[in-house]
Point group: C2
Chain length 188, copies 2
């Protein structure tokens, strides 16, 4: 079952996002989110630990997809090429969710507590990526460097994506960002 079907998780997420945009994150209660979603408050807590977590429900799945893609990249692929395979999969997973991602970003940017959570999730993603590379036999230092490069490309590509007037190809923007990172570090 996809989590984007109109299931409880998805309904709670949409309701929360709508309320955060209407009233602000601080001013919204879990009770209000549950009510808007037409669900009981206890249902909310079966799915999310708190009203912050409802904005990060997709993080674990994204991380799993990234790690799986890196693990399954061709054995002969260079570390950075395994990272590219991972970014392509993440880009594909988020493609089509442009409006949602923009709204979510607007809420997160307005709240320091949410920005912190976003940083923590990104750091976890970098660690998971480095570990996935090490599992491929990549030495630790190289794995850490390739993971940092990958997460930088993810962050910058994602920001370009949500800053555009209409939806562009996210995977392509991430790849472009990685290419430009290479050019910049080479002093070009």
């Amino acid at each position: 079952m996809s989590r984007w079907e109109p299931d409880a998780r998805g309904r709670l997420e949409l309701a929360a996002l709508a309320l955060y945009l209407e009233r602000g994150f601080e001013q919204t209660t879990v009770a209000q989110i549950a009510e808007r979603a037409g669900l009981a408050e206890r249902t909310f807590f079966r799915h999310y630990a708190d009203k912050r977590e409802v904005l990060f429900g997709g993080s674990a799945e994204l991380q799993t997809r990234l790690v799986t893609a890196v693990a399954e990249a061709p054995a002969e692929a260079a570390p950075i090429d395994a990272v590219k395979v991972g970014l392509d999969v993440i880009g594909g997973a988020l493609q089509g969710r442009f409006e949602h991602a923009r709204k979510r970003h607007r809420v997160i940017r307005a709240n320091p507590e949410l920005l912190e959570r976003e940083l923590i999730k990104l750091a976890a993603l970098a660690t998971a990526l480095a570990e996935a590379l090490e599992q491929r036999g990549v030495p630790q230092l190289t794995a850490n460097l390739a993971a940092e490069a990958g997460i930088a490309a993810f962050k910058i590509g994602f920001n370009r994506w949500i800053s555009a007037a209409k939806e562009q190809d996210l995977a392509l923007l991430m790849r472009d960002s990685l290419d430009e990172l290479r050019a910049v570090t080479a002093g070009q």
Copy 2:
């Protein structure tokens, strides 16, 4: 006046670090830190907002040094070369503080709340670095990429530094990390 002189700030920082290592961060109170430093509790709060902040007292100074160095790099320097100048200055500022940095790292690593603060400070450093590059006339995207590369080199060089058995040249480790980042992104 250097903040490493036996002034109130420095004494509070050393006392806090010693207590965090002896009893754990959670178990230490501000009153105990002040007592160990031979100072009044109100003196603590004149210098630090809380017992977390005492571990991050050097962040603002480090950021100022980085931004100043980047601003003062030769006008013709490529963005990544301006970043290197900044890393050299940061490396120089931390050089000689090896034992202190190791202890601090041990405390931070043991506590998720402190790790979060560290992530926030690093994100702020990346933003400040990107802005300093933009001030040099570097286009925003390039500035963001070069800043990400610089912070990655800082993080990885710093981790190599504090993981070594004895103190090495931090600035050199950061430069090496940046060179290796270039090689990794080039698929070498």
